[in-house]
């Protein structure tokens, strides 16, 4: 494991799962975990097992739903899909992340040019 991998912030995994399900439709836990790993280009440190804590949390909140089905290679697996409330939640959460990202960007690119203006 490369030491530069990013630790996931609290709550980000849930958002990633929601987004994955929106884009990819119905998926099982392994598929979601792989998809996130691929998209992040192995940048995040994800123990695939953690996905199941996230899934149960989302399901209990009613944002995703699940049922047992059969995969392409004919294996029994539990498939998850996003619900209408889940979609709404995703929009809200995504907006929140956008704002946070902007703020972080501004803070991190800050220089001392504003100082004079304030004084």
């Amino acid at each position: 494991m490369s030491p530069e991998k990013l630790d996931l912030l609290q709550g980000t995994l849930d958002l990633m799962v929601l987004q994955t399900l929106t884009v990819m439709g119905s998926m099982h836990g392994y598929g979601i975990a792989r998809r996130i790993e691929q998209v992040s280009a192995d940048e995040v440190l994800l123990n695939q097992g953690t996905i199941y804590a996230s899934l149960v949390r989302l399901e209990q909140r009613g944002w995703i739903s699940s049922n047992w089905g059969t995969s392409d290679n004919n294996r029994k697996a539990k498939f998850y899909s996003i619900t209408a409330t889940g979609k709404r939640q995703l929009v809200a959460d995504a907006r929140h992340w956008e704002r946070l990202k902007d703020v972080m960007e501004r803070v991190l690119t800050m220089d001392n040019s504003a100082e004079g203006a304030d004084a």
């Binding site: 099982h28 836990g29 392994y30 598929g31 975990a33 792989r34 123990n47 695939q48 097992g49 953690t50 199941y52 804590a53 996230s54 149960v56 949390r57 209990q60 909140r61 009613g62 944002w63 995969s71 290679n73 294996r75 029994k76 697996a77 539990k78 409330t85 939640q89």
Partner: protein
């Protein structure tokens, strides 16, 4: 919204754990399989593919753990585990479990029962809607009994009209005695007790009839048809809970009286206003009939308007009082009530006097709970020592300290929970029993019941005691390091010194608490003994009283003298007849028995002496027949009344010594002798023919006040109680006395033949009640302390078996071993007693107000209680000491 949903689901997941776990297992298995398939497809070997798959999952156990944590409540899961484990260990140690639960059940039960009493008497509002608005309106306490706590009808009208603070003001007739109603259903008349209330009484209290209706103004007018409301209990007892009773009429006191309603079971007049008595029926008081001129007869109860404070009501009453007249036709009586109209909360009036007793009682059960906790702590410590190895092992295997403390606290909680369950049942039985002790003169006792508050208190006590007794052993167990504990668990270890010190501290505190309890109980017991020894002014044993029915009405009797004459004839007949019964030594009549009701008729003053201002209260008035004093066992100096004292002859009275002494202070009679002197009251001359002993008329433990006695042939009695003195057991006369009365008057109800001793018992029942409770709590405390001492000493003997063996092998005698152990026991007990006595001396002020004729620092009580405690301690230490002296050195040494 989504979070609430999640909470519900999490709870559900906690309960239905198994299927969800299975589901997760399947899911994880599928996940692993997908990963392996992928890895194989990428060209790995089967073993390598599996290894890499497991690595990317990041540990199956972690995944399960995280999932469960998110899904349910891990803490609850752990608690469930600990709980199951606790039940298993307790099940395997039944003797420990039984002792521990028993101790806790007794302590918790006592606490819950006392809490219920305190809750009913002090905390809970009275059983009326918006009870905080209700006030009792009376003067500050005075010497002259009920007459000074009541008001005339004119005063009532003025107060009601003149006050703005109240929604309405009501009251009841304060002077009706027991068995004043005789119900005639054809056979022998049935005695019952009724109370006259002002018609708006129930509206003011907010009580509705269970059946029918309550009184209206119509019911209390001149010429209204007589109506009655039945108490729920009487309706059930006397009328078999007849559902069609409303509208029926019965012969009550010779008048056809219609039942207009039945009161709800929740309303018990006696419980609220006349503790220790039962009231069967309520009748309307006609304020505009004869009672108009009876003087002070009404107690006042008001319901304040919402938003009015007690302070405002008090201020207003002080403004209204000067306008109130004793009798509107006598302007000189206007202003008589100045300073004598003070509203207090009805609740305070009823329960206020008991506040101190209840606080003492509460402290006593609190001490019991602490002693029980200390005992449990000790038991758990001893048990923990035996389990030290188990915990050390768990610690060595990786259990965190917190996890072990949690396990121990769970055990404490389970124990205290079981104790609380049994304690609650015990308390329920106790409370049920107390609620049916009608003879105890404590207010609201019959309304006592277990409620939600008691349940809440139980939970609170269980959690509190679990924390108290669980924390010391818990920290102690988890505190030592693993190595030490493993080492310490071996036999003959010296590292347990620290352990034993904790246990000694616990025993000392236990003894100290028990000592305080014992001292308190001893003081109360001694006070009670002193109360029983009080010279009452009459002889309560070998005498009994029965309410007598008589008809002295005479038509066209202008000044009452014909009635008085007729009364004299009837009473003389009764007394002669009953006095002649075999076994009867003396018989006489009185209208109010001592320790019951009373009244005053103004202040008679020595004739020709100027009456000083500022003395408002007069002596209590009793109207008696000749022979009454002898029947009561009260001695007379001078002469008794005679049947020849008639309406037309000289007016005669007897007064008690205190009143005579007071009057002599103004009159300066020759030799201070009042006999033969004349008093004047309301323009009438009263000749003192006798001086009698001071009779305790209001309470056994209070001071006797002033009393004046009038003959029944000159003054009007309010009823008649026939007092009979005998050498035999008074109960054996009941039949013959009643038969004799019946023969003379067929209307005589089968009234109760009450031993005078009962009146005294009733008067001291409240004190006795508290005394008995505190004494039994002290006994319980003593028992628990003895158990504690025994446990600690026998534990230390067990631990020192080897040491004792060596000592004995080296020549120590059995008696030497015994003495050594007894000495260490007594040392602990002595320290405990010293602390306990010190704390009692400091805290005695709390109890001082409850004592009678006993100093709160009574040396004899302190000494005897300390001695008792030391003896008990010595006895509890002797058993293990004896066991130690029987240790066989060879056996003891071989066990190593």
């Amino acid at each position: 919204m989504s979070e609430t949903l999640r909470l519900v689901k999490r709870l559900w997941a906690f309960i239905r754990r198994k299927p969800l776990d299975d589901d997760l297992e399947d899911e994880l298995a599928a996940h692993l399989q997908f990963a392996i398939d992928d890895n194989i497809a990428r060209g790995m070997s089967r073993t390598e593919a599996r290894r890499m798959a497991l690595i990317s999952i990041g540990g199956m156990d972690q995944a399960r753990y995280q999932h469960r944590e998110a899904r349910g409540f891990m803490t609850l899961d752990i608690f469930k585990q600990d709980f199951k484990y606790t039940l298993r260990t307790l099940w395997h140690d039944p003797s420990f479990t039984i002792v521990a639960v028993l101790i806790l059940a007794l302590a918790t039960g006592a606490n819950i029962a006392v809490f219920s009493v305190v809750n009913t008497l002090l905390l809970r509002p009275l059983p009326f809607p918006n009870a905080h608005e209700l006030v009792w309106i009376a003067p500050p306490p005075t010497k002259c009994g009920m007459s000074c706590a009541t008001y005339s009808t004119d005063a009532y009208d003025e107060f009601r009209a003149g006050s703005r603070s109240y929604q309405d003001v009501t009251g009841y007739f304060a002077f009706s005695g027991a068995d004043n109603l005789s119900l005639n259903l054809g056979g022998a008349p049935i005695p019952a007790t009724s109370i006259d209330v002002i018609e708006n009484f129930f509206q003011v209290l907010g009580v509705h009839a269970q059946m029918g209706r309550v009184f209206t103004a119509e019911d209390a007018r001149n010429g209204s048809a007589p109506v009655v409301l039945l108490s729920n209990a009487w309706w059930k007892r006397q009328f078999n809970a007849d559902p069609n009773i409303v509208g029926k009429s019965f012969d009550m006191n010779g008048r056809q009286t219609t039942v207009i309603g039945v009161l709800p079971a929740s309303f018990d007049f006696g419980a609220v206003f006349a503790p220790g008595t039962k009231v069967d029926a309520i009748t309307p008081l006609n304020l505009y009939g004869p009672p108009r001129d009876w003087g002070n007869i009404i107690t006042l109860i008001g319901r304040m308007k919402p938003g009015i404070t007690l302070g405002q009501a008090v201020d207003e009453a002080a403004r209204v009082a000067p306008h109130m007249c004793w009798n509107n036709k006598r302007p000189e009586t206007c202003g008589d009530y100045k300073g004598a109209v003070v509203p207090v909360g009805l609740k305070d009036y009823i329960g206020g006097k008991l506040r101190r007793s209840l606080i003492v009682l509460w402290s006593a059960v609190g001490a019991i709970l602490l002693i029980a906790c200390v005992n449990l702590s000790n038991l758990l410590l001893a048990r923990g020592a035996a389990r030290a190895k188990e915990f050390a092992m768990r610690g060595a295997l990786g259990a965190s300290r917190g996890r072990i403390v949690r396990q121990l606290l769970t055990e404490s909680l389970v124990l205290s929970g079981m104790g609380a369950v049994f304690g609650f049942m015990l308390a329920a039985v106790l409370v049920q029993w107390l609620a049916h002790q009608g003879a105890i003169a404590l207010p609201l006792l019959s309304t006592l019941h277990m409620d939600g508050a008691a349940l809440g208190w139980t939970v609170l006590i269980a959690v509190f005691s679990a924390t108290i007794f669980g924390i010391v052993p818990g920290l102690r167990m988890a505190g030592g390091n693993v190595y030490e504990s493993l080492k310490d668990a071996g036999p003959g270890a010296t590292a347990s010194r620290k352990h034993e010190r904790i246990r000694s501290v616990l025993v000392v505190s236990e003894v100290a608490l028990a000592c305080m309890l014992l001292v308190g109980a001893g003081l109360l017991l001694r006070s009670f003994m002193n109360v029983l020894k009080v010279d009452l002014g009459f002889e309560p044993d070998h005498a009994a009283a029965i309410k007598v029915d008589y008809d002295d009405s005479v038509p066209n009797d202008k000044d009452g003298s014909l009635r008085a004459q007729k009364r004299g004839v009837i009473f003389q007949q009764i007394i002669n007849r009953v006095g002649a019964l075999p076994g009867v030594e003396a018989a006489g009549m009185v209208d109010y028995l001592p320790l019951g009701q009373n009244r005053a008729w103004g202040l008679p003053f020595p004739k020709g002496v100027k009456r000083p201002k500022g003395i408002e209260s007069g002596p209590l008035v009793y109207v008696i027949s000749p022979g009454y004093m002898r029947a009561m066992g009260t001695s007379i100096r001078g002469r008794d009344f005679a049947w020849s004292d008639l309406p037309k002859t000289e007016r005669v009275v007897m007064i008690n010594r205190s009143f005579a002494k007071f009057l002599d202070g103004y009159a300066k009679w020759p030799n201070g002798d009042a006999v033969g002197q004349a008093l004047s009251n309301g323009g009438q001359d009263l000749h003192i023919v006798g001086i009698v002993d001071d009779v305790h008329e209001e309470s056994v433990d209070g001071d006797a006040g002033w009393q004046i006695y009038y003959p029944m042939t000159q003054a009007g009695p309010s009823g008649a109680e026939l007092v009979v003195r005998t050498r035999m057991n008074p109960a054996s006369l009941a039949g013959s006395v009643l038969a004799a009365l019946r023969e003379m008057n067929p209307k005589q109800p089968a009234a109760e033949f009450r031993p005078i001793r009962l009146l005294v018992n009733h008067a001291v029942s409240g004190r006795q009640f508290f005394m008995l409770l505190v004494v039994s709590f002290a006994g319980l405390g003593l028992l628990l302390a003895a158990l504690g001492i025994y446990g600690v000493i026998s534990y230390s003997v067990t631990r020192q078996t080897q040491e004792i063996g060596i000592r004995m092998a080296l020549g120590a005698s059995a008696s030497h071993v015994r003495r050594r152990i007894l000495t260490s026991t007594l040392r602990l007990a002595l320290i405990g007693v010293a602390i306990g006595v010190g704390a009692s001396i400091a805290g005695a002020r709390l109890i001082a107000a409850l004592l009678f004729g006993t100093s709160p620092w009574d040396v004899a009580t302190y000494g005897s209680m300390a001695l008792l405690l030391l003896i008990i301690a010595a006895l509890s230490g002797y058993i293990p000491a004896f066991r130690a002296s029987r240790i066989n050195p060879t056996v003891a040494l071989r066990t190593n």
